[in-house]
Symmetry: C2
Subunit: 340 residues, 2 copies
DNA sequence: GATACGGATGTTAACGTTAACAGCCACCCA
DNA sequence: TGGGTGGCTGTTAACGTTAACATCCGTATC
């Protein structure tokens, strides 16, 4: 014998409840809500009234199950406390919300293993599409995703082999451009401060090295890299240590604005003249950069646009189209300010 | 005649696929994954191998549908770009993740109508519990939620009538405490800068008024309130305007740290001595407050703990318990620093 | 050696919705 | 007046999973 009917004190109203109240069949209620033009106006109005009265909310699980379309997109980002990714999310949301896609945000914490675990969990929602940050995902994950035939677009970076859909800009080119700017300004002992050391930071570092090597003045001992989480305090302590170990440095390229603001704070408190004694540059152009004293030279990154374009591309893929351009380079802008 | 079987080129593996490969029934596979101790070791191992080989991912919709438990919690917050709520989310996540609850984040954008719309959408996921920011939700929404019997916990504020589950602190008491601090320091013409004007900002303003009225020196014309979005730039422009209109002000209570940092920046650039000519105080104690020049006096808010405690309370409610204390006041701390 | 017990596995139905097709009926046109 | 047309509504089954029993079989018990 099958299980007993539930004896819940109360349960959420279903299509059948609404249908019973109005005196029609469930499918008619479904149509009244999803394809109103296929239901006569009189019936539709009575249905909508009943829906309101009963507080009916459609059950997404049932719909997903039967229609095999979840209207859901999974977005994995490394951090929620980094404005960069929040801005990206805003771009994504602005594209997907009008199309009634639900966004499931996964926070990987810059941890590859956790990213894989998260993705696996989120796949159980049967998403219609996936947005990933970076291109570092393991081969295992790749073949696994391929098996499921769910469209995937990568954000922030570019695929050197152009084999995956991606929207971003060359972190390395940006790193090189900022370094060249410092060289043009006459600085010769340019340090690099890197924290967290994720994919993007290492690419910026590569750009820094490339620029200095081309100028023939690259020195390995002017790089300070730490896996610690970035922050203003960390920037301050890094510059303190760096100036002690290598007093000859006359410029610092910080892998992000937080570190750079910490460096500026330290300089201000210790009477180090910026940009005369020390030039300081950051990366991302966060809100604080233009308001620091002195104002901070940095790279403006098109993060909102990346989210927007990536979501648009995903939308395209989800409707079965093949985007004309599988790789979109949205570039970056050098914001030269007082600190250099 | 019913619909034709689908002719998908490929589909995600199901329990039946795994079962067929191993030569057992679907329910055994289900048990091997959910209650492994109820399946013999030999069979379990073969099942896990097949799961791996086929890349099987359980279908959450089907599970939710049949078990009427979605293992999902909806969290509505006003903004993703405000560190306060991100910290709260971290606390929530740290509690719910170990219990394998999925978190659905909804961003209301400080908009009550949007909040109601979002909630309705998210209810279609049949969440097991809901976390809301603030207590401002409309009566309509309340009765509606009551009807569904889904546990709800409110965060950040306290319910004066103690009729709802909530975890937070008294924004008004915090506002009063900070204002009293300024009075103790000898300031007499204390201005209030408010932006965005959400529930919490208005409560802080109420605390500010209360403290000044008690001291008998409240002046309505020292309040600058704007619905604009908060930010460093806004703080700078507000202080410029305020000093022009009411040069006698000798202290500013900013409704959040962003505005206060803007005020500090303006003072620094215009040679206004802080705290001699003008005292500046913020609210929240964000990362930047301790690194500003001068360091910023502010209220440290227990936002991580609020998320943590609210999620714990919700967990309790979701397992059918009644929390001993339906209202948790986590209080706040005054961080007196150089700027006052 | 019959009986009870319990661990392992299976069978059936149900969750709430929508796809696919099947009526039904009013209306129009020849 | 008969046949076709089109708008509206209904019937049935299916999506993938789990709850609730049912069954089987080996082992312990007296």
């Amino acid at each position: 014998m099958p299980r007993k009917p539930k004896e819940r004190a109360s349960r959420a109203a279903t299509l059948h409840d609404v249908a019973a109240q109005v005196g029609v069949s469930a499918i008619t209620v479904s149509r009244a809500l999803n394809t109103p033009e296929r239901v006569s106006e009189a019936v539709r109005e009575r249905i909508l009234a009943a829906v309101d009265a009963l507080g009916y909310v459609p059950n997404r699980s049932a719909r997903t199950l039967v229609s095999s379309r979840s209207q859901t997109v999974v977005v994995l980002i490394p951090s929620l406390s980094n404005t960069v990714f929040i801005d990206t999310l805003a771009g994504i949301n602005d594209v997907l919300d009008p199309h009634h896609y639900q966004i499931l945000i996964g926070n990987t914490g810059y941890d590859d293993a956790r990213e894989e675990r998260l993705l696996r969990t989120y796949l159980s929602h049967a998403p219609d599409g996936i947005l990933l940050t970076g291109l570092r995902q393991s081969d295992g994950m790749r073949t696994w995703l391929d098996k499921l035939h769910i469209p995937v677009v990568h954000m922030m970076g570019l695929d050197p082999q152009a084999q995956r859909y991606c929207v971003g800009f060359s972190q390395q080119a940006a790193g090189a451009a900022l370094t060249q700017h410092l060289l043009q300004r006459g600085y010769r002992n340019v340090a690099f401060f890197g924290a967290r050391l994720d994919e993007r930071v290492m690419q910026r570092a590569a750009g820094y090295r490339q620029a200095l090597q081309e100028a023939g003045i690259y020195r390995e001992d002017l790089e300070w890299l730490t896996p610690e989480h970035s922050g203003i305090g960390l920037g301050a302590s890094m510059i303190a240590k760096a100036l002690q170990q290598r007093p000859e440095i006359d410029a610092v390229f910080c892998c992000n604005d937080d570190l750079a603001l910490g460096v500026l704070t330290y300089c201000q408190r210790n009477g180090i003249a910026v940009p005369q004694r020390l030039a300081v540059a950051g990366f991302n152009d966060l809100d604080g950069a233009a308001w620091a004293t002195p104002t901070l030279t940095t790279i403006r990154t098109p993060r909102y646009d990346i989210g927007h374009a990536a979501a648009s591309m995903l939308l395209d893929l989800m409707s079965g189209n093949t985007p004309a351009e599988p790789m979109q380079d949205l570039s970056f802008t050098l914001q030269a300010r007082e600190s250099t």
